[in-house]
């Protein structure tokens, strides 16, 4: 029996008296396509931060591929295969797009421990970095500084970096937020065509996207798991509609037609 890609057990996080995450249990199988939805302030990003190690849980544990990683730092977790995108771009704004990618590849493979051999002397790294840019169709921007790119393009770089980590578990925090609608399909196509072995968790508000992408949906309300199920089950769930989907009912309807 193989262990799940990622398991979260009894996770809690308090900020003072405020309980932001409450007894969350979550399992991502290998190759999972999971959406995490919930109203604003439900603690979705906090959960991602707890999984990646940006925040430490007050109690509970995070297990990656059968191995308890709760005590590990963010960087150690990343090296073991957790990659994420941030809700607001976190990029090396003063570096070129290509350098951004080379850094991700270099840190993944340990090249960055090398103080002597020039970056440019490793053609393999550069070529791999360019492959990720090609996949997102931003090779033309490779030599531009990130801060000179429009926000939507930067968003693609954000995703390319996460991919360059060759993750086992990929956490996408609203990947299409701030991207002009003409370019969202590009991001979603890329996400849809990812290696089927990678377990993916996506936080997304656009129900179109959620229902098209996810095989299973987790609903988070006020820091706790409200319910979990297939898109059909979630759609049929009256309580979910009341709590969350109700306010966006028309968009859910649209999603059904497309789906």
């Amino acid at each position: 029996m193989t262990a799940a890609a990622l398991e979260v057990r009894g996770l809690n996080r308090n900020f003072g008296a405020l309980k932001v995450t409450r007894d969350v249990d979550l399992t991502l199988e290998r190759g999972a396509r999971r959406a995490l939805i919930g109203p604003n302030g439900a603690g979705k990003t906090t959960l991602v931060n707890l999984i990646t190690g940006l925040l430490n849980p007050s109690s509970g544990k995070v297990v990656l591929g059968g191995q308890d990683i709760t005590a590990l730092s963010q960087a150690q977790r990343a090296r073991r295969g957790i990659a994420r995108t941030f809700q607001i771009n976190q990029l090396f704004r003063g570096l070129t797009v290509l350098e951004n990618l080379c850094l991700a590849v270099g840190e993944r493979d340990g090249h960055c421990n090398n103080l002597w051999r020039a970056t440019g002397a490793r053609r393999v790294v550069i070529d791999e970095a360019l492959d990720y840019l090609a996949a997102l169709r931003i090779v033309d921007d490779a030599l531009k500084l990130v801060r000179e790119l429009p926000y939507g393009r930067q968003r693609l770089v954000e995703i390319a970096i996460a991919l360059a980590q060759k993750p086992r578990v990929l956490l996408l925090d609203e990947p299409a937020a701030g991207v002009p609608s003409s370019e969202t399909h590009l991001i979603l196509d890329v996400v849809a065509n990812l290696d089927p072995d990678i377990a993916i968790l996506i936080i997304e508000h656009d129900m179109d996207v959620v229902f098209r992408f996810a095989r299973k949906i987790t609903v988070l309300v006020a820091g706790a798991i409200f319910t979990e199920g297939t898109p059909q089950e979630i759609m049929a769930n009256e309580q979910v509609r009341a709590v969350y989907l109700g306010q966006e009912g028309h968009r859910v309807g649209g999603g059904v037609r497309h789906g």
């Binding site: 990646t52 940006l54 730092s73 963010q74 960087a75 150690q76 977790r77 990343a78 090296r79 990659a83 994420r84 941030f86 976190q90 990029l91 090396f92 704004r93 003063g94 570096l95 070129t96 290509l98 350098e99 080379c102 850094l103 991700a104 270099g106 840190e107 993944r108 090249h111 960055c112 421990n113 090398n114 103080l115 002597w116 051999r117 020039a118 970056t119 440019g120 002397a121 490793r122 053609r123 790294v125 550069i126 070529d127 360019l130 840019l133 090609a134 090779v139 033309d140 490779a142 030599l143 000179e148 970096i161 360059a164 980590q165």
Partner: protein, 427 residues
Amino acid sequence: MAASEKSRELAATGARERAAGYLVGRHRFRPAEALPWLLAIAAFFLFPDRMTFGNQALIMVMFALSLDLILGYAGIVSLGHAAFFGVGAYTVGLLIARLDWSEPLSSLLAAAMLSGLIGFVTGWFILRYRGLTVIMLTLATAIMLQEAGNLRSDISGGYDGLPGLVISPLFGIFDYDLYGHVNYLYVLGVLAVIFYMVRRIVYSPFGQALTGIRENVRRMHAIGSPVHRRLVTVYTISAAIAGVAGALFTQTNAYVTLTVFDFDNSAKVMVMLILGGTGRLYGAFIGAVVYMMLEDHLSKLSPTFWQFGIGLLLILAVLFAPRGLLGLVEEISRKSWRRGRAGAARRLIWKGEHWTVLAGSAVDGAAIGFIVGFAANFGQAHLLSEYIASLPGRALAFTCFGALVATAINAIYLAFTSRAAAEDRGS
């Protein structure tokens, strides 16, 4: 259809090649890079009687280079880098004065190792934090070392220092002459070796990781970079280099006092680096040399004006040339390539709000000038009425001067910012 597909593919490979070519060729030496070294050698023949000054300038270049590694590349703001300069300087001084060890090269090595060790230990603690805490702790490191030296002035010689330190001939052959000729070549040689090492580090993947930490430490954690280890590594290297600079300082001056740990020394090297430009290797050269030449001329003229000048220089640098002299040169050449004269006229059309700002700054400047004039009347006027009576004279001049300076600075600032804003809109 197939043909257009093919051409698109070709264009894509073209873009790939261009992009890859940039990174592949970036670390290669460019002909222009020989220039500073040729100048340094030329100076040896052209100004044989100014070698002492040349020595000091080269040592400061090395010191600034070490700061560039942590400040310009890794983004660590240190207000106590003199700590390592001082450790290096005292290593050599104590080796000679207390252990009678005066061989120059092994002393350099000892200085590098000791200051590197102290850099490692302090860095390991300090670099877990960011921002103000780091600034404070680096500052405290330098002052604590100074106070420790003062505490054991029986060993360190205290603020009177260790005078009359004589080093052995280099390689046992070349004796150090009074005019510093051998010294100059010695320091230049050591600088060349160190520069080569720093240059390799900067263009290595490790150097890239440092810029990554400077640009966005959050992302570095997320891609699995051992940030703390990287920072401690570079801090140790930087400390060792600063130590070598300090060691050379003691060797060429033949004395050392506790003032090497002064805050002034830390501030000075930072000003040099900022002046030249951070994160660009040769910024350290230009900054240190320009600073030393200015200091050489101006501080003799009037130390007070010199200090005022540094202050003004820093403010102007932050306002107008945040990337230093080198950055300014690059920017100006880039811009004049990109846009012609059409843009220039547009830049001059100012919005109404600019005039209110200018009027405001004129009033501010006048007020400050008036107050300064008021204070400056120390010992001359004894009552407010007397002061008012003397207005047409000194105080009026101060008032006008204040208004003029403030308006001018603001005008230049607005010209810069409105241009930047116009470019933002344009792009």
